[in-house]
Amino acid sequence: MPVTRRSLIAAAGIGATASQSVPRLSRAQAANTIRIGVLNDQSGLYRDVNGPGSVVCVRQAVADSGLAARGISVEVVVGDHQNRPDVGSNIVRQWLDRDGVDLILDVPTSSVALAVNSIVREKNKVHMNSSGATSDLTGAQCSPNTVHWTYDTYMLAKSTGGAMVKAGGDTWFFLTADYAFGHALERDTTNFVRASGGRVLGAVRTPFPGNADFSSFLVQAQASRAKVVGLANAGGDTINCVKQAAEFGLARRGVKLAGLLVFISDVHSLGLQTAQGLVITETFYWDLNDRTRAFTARVVPNMPNGLRPGMGQAGCYGAVMHYLKAVADMGVAAAKASGTEAVSRMKAMPCDDDAFGPGTIRADGRKLHPAYLLEVKAPAESRGPWDYYKLVATTSGEEAFRPLGEGGCSLVRS
């Protein structure tokens, strides 16, 4: 095929829009500008639980922070890590080395989150993780540059797993997404099941990403005669599991599903008819109280595909609100100069935002706020669009998350 001038120009144009470069600012401008890099899955199976919705919530936090009125400008850049640690690491290195980004935010997919965690520490910037799940971020791999905001595998395991065992589900079989997140969630849940006298009868590691048929694994789970099938996966994987479990009649044989990480967009996608009765844990639900409803009303007009914000996206809002409060307190120059200083300042200040209410950040980087055990409503109980959950129980932040001394974090003096 001959290469014409026109095709060359077109190709260059596409290349320019596709690259994640940031416009350069003059030195005077840059000194008073905070740059936030939102790194998440913009195009794959986790897109609806973080993706563009997270960006909308970040922009809302920037607007709500009121920093513009004080002469501090905040820029938001977005990167798609495609759930691959190599892609995520490259984007973060470019952002930190070349583009002057100060805060790396969101970072779902635990394998990517752990890779990003060490880069941000090495460059002394700030990593606020909202949608990543592995509890290692505040445990064995904790860092003075990291705050883990929304949830983690320990909290999910304790809340949902503990509730299932209490309700009589004392034998378990796991379907585990075969990567860091799934392994951590299976490990943490197993500990709780065993501690409360239950038994784990087996587990299968399911390929990730790209597996859509779980029927074979569900039949294996059924054959194990376990009372509970624990879904140590998320997003599209969980949706397919729940859908196919209904098809294969697991519920009719008395087998309960434990969705260990389920987001409201997953429930929306499944429909209440299929999802009803699922017991799940979230730290944010739009219809919890007046503040969460007010926050939701502000972001909904900008949310993609008519979605309501889920906890991962709300976590981006809360994290940025708190970070910008610390920046205003310590000054832009000091916040940009040292990530560890910015994180220590955040740990010293009480948190309070519309999505999560009052809370604190612990020495190991763990953000503490209540966890809500929720049950998905039956279609007849739902009073309107997105009215999906019944609140079953509320656990305080101190109770919900792993005790400070048990994580093995080197930042904690025993």
């Binding site: 095929m1 899955d41 195009s43 794959g44 199976l45 986790y46 897109r47 609806d48 639980v49 993706g51 075969d178 299968v204 590691r205 399911t206 390929p207 990403p209 790209g210 597996n211 859509a212 048929d213 029927s215 074979s216 694994f217 039949v219 294996q220 059924q222 054959a223 997003g235 599209g236 949706i239 397919n240 859908k243 196919q244 098809e247 294969f248 009649g249 044989r253 967009s265 997953d266 929306h268 996608s269 499944l270 429909g271 008819q273 299929t274 993609p304 595909n305 979605l307």
Partner: protein, 294 residues
């Protein structure tokens, strides 16, 4: 209870059956690919995206027009097939004289565009699509629960594959098709409108993909990435069966479904790769594929 290879026999039978069901999807998709490659010499990377479109059209028919599963089974292949005809006319027909690689790149690009548009419009977590009430429920075979819908998928896919094979091998139209594959100018000289036949063949191959999509909609989450999850595996199936071999595509599709199902029992971590391992071995031993002619 008897054990086979350390696995209870009932569980093994259940897994064989499930493998067969997945094989039905592989067979339907690879059949379309094989037909398109056989006649057009195009490696149709957009096949997965068109499969996904088939499922989405079924959802749209239900959501916007209130037309249920049975209408979707009829209409969706036509609608997506017509879209395929437009694609062929506008883009693909320009590439027949070039190397395979150009067709592959073009259709790959088209797949990315189609998926991107659907993702932008509908998000990534997918849309609910219920099993039609006539096929809901399950049979309690002694060794497993078999959802009636899955049995329907296998039977329907077998019939569709058989019908396609009969059309190509046993009818006059099929004879023209095969002749055009061998020597297009000569067939044209006999007064057959070859370009139109090529366009319609592409449309038919695409319609088969859409039919697969409608069959998949009640089982899988209807989401934009459902096709890209499948397409690479289906390509491996076509390569193993032999590019352009209709019977090869169908038999390999069902066979590899079963192999994959067995892997899910014995070593689940490898179930995503086992087909590619087989592909490597087959390519080394028989580069033209199991049923291909070198």
């Amino acid at each position: 209870m008897e054990d086979l290879f350390g696995i209870p026999a009932p569980l093994l039978f259940g897994q064989l059956l499930l493998g067969l069901i997945n094989g039905a999807f592989y067979a339907m998709l690879s059949l379309g690919l094989a037909v398109i490659f056989g006649l057009l010499n195009i490696v149709n990377m957009a096949h997965g995206a068109l499969f996904m479109m088939g499922a989405f059209v079924a959802w749209l028919l239900l959501d916007k027009l209130g037309l249920g599963y049975w209408w979707a089974l009829l209409l969706s292949p036509f609608i997506v097939g017509a879209f395929g005809v437009v694609l062929e006319k506008l883009f693909i027909s320009r590439l027949y004289k070039l190397d395979h690689l150009y067709g592959l790149l073009l259709t790959f690009g088209l797949a990315l565009v189609i998926e991107g548009v659907f993702r932008n419009e509908f998000g990534s977590s997918g849309l609910p699509y219920r099993i039609p009430p006539e096929l809901a429920g399950s049979w309690d075979l002694d060794f497993m629960f078999l959802p009636i819908y899955r049995a329907w998928v296998v039977v329907f896919a077998l019939v569709a594959c058989l019908a396609t094979w009969l059309v190509i091998e046993k009818t006059r139209l099929g004879a023209y098709l095969r002749a055009a594959t061998e020597n297009a100018p000569l067939v044209q000289a006999f007064g057959v409108n070859v370009p139109r036949m090529v366009t319609l063949t592409y449309g038919a191959g695409v319609a088969l993909a859409a039919l697969g999509g409608v069959l998949a909609a009640p089982i899988y989450s209807v989401n934009p990435q459902m096709g890209s999850n499948l397409i690479i595996v289906v390509f491996a199936v076509v390569v193993i069966g032999g590019m352009g071999s209709i019977l090869g595509a169908v038999l390999t599709g069902f066979g590899l479904g079963i192999v994959e199902g067995m892997t899910k029992v014995f070593y689940p971590e490898a179930s995503a790769t086992v087909i590619f391992v087989i592909m490597v071995i087959v390519l080394l031993a028989r580069p033209a594929g199991l049923f291909g002619r070198a």
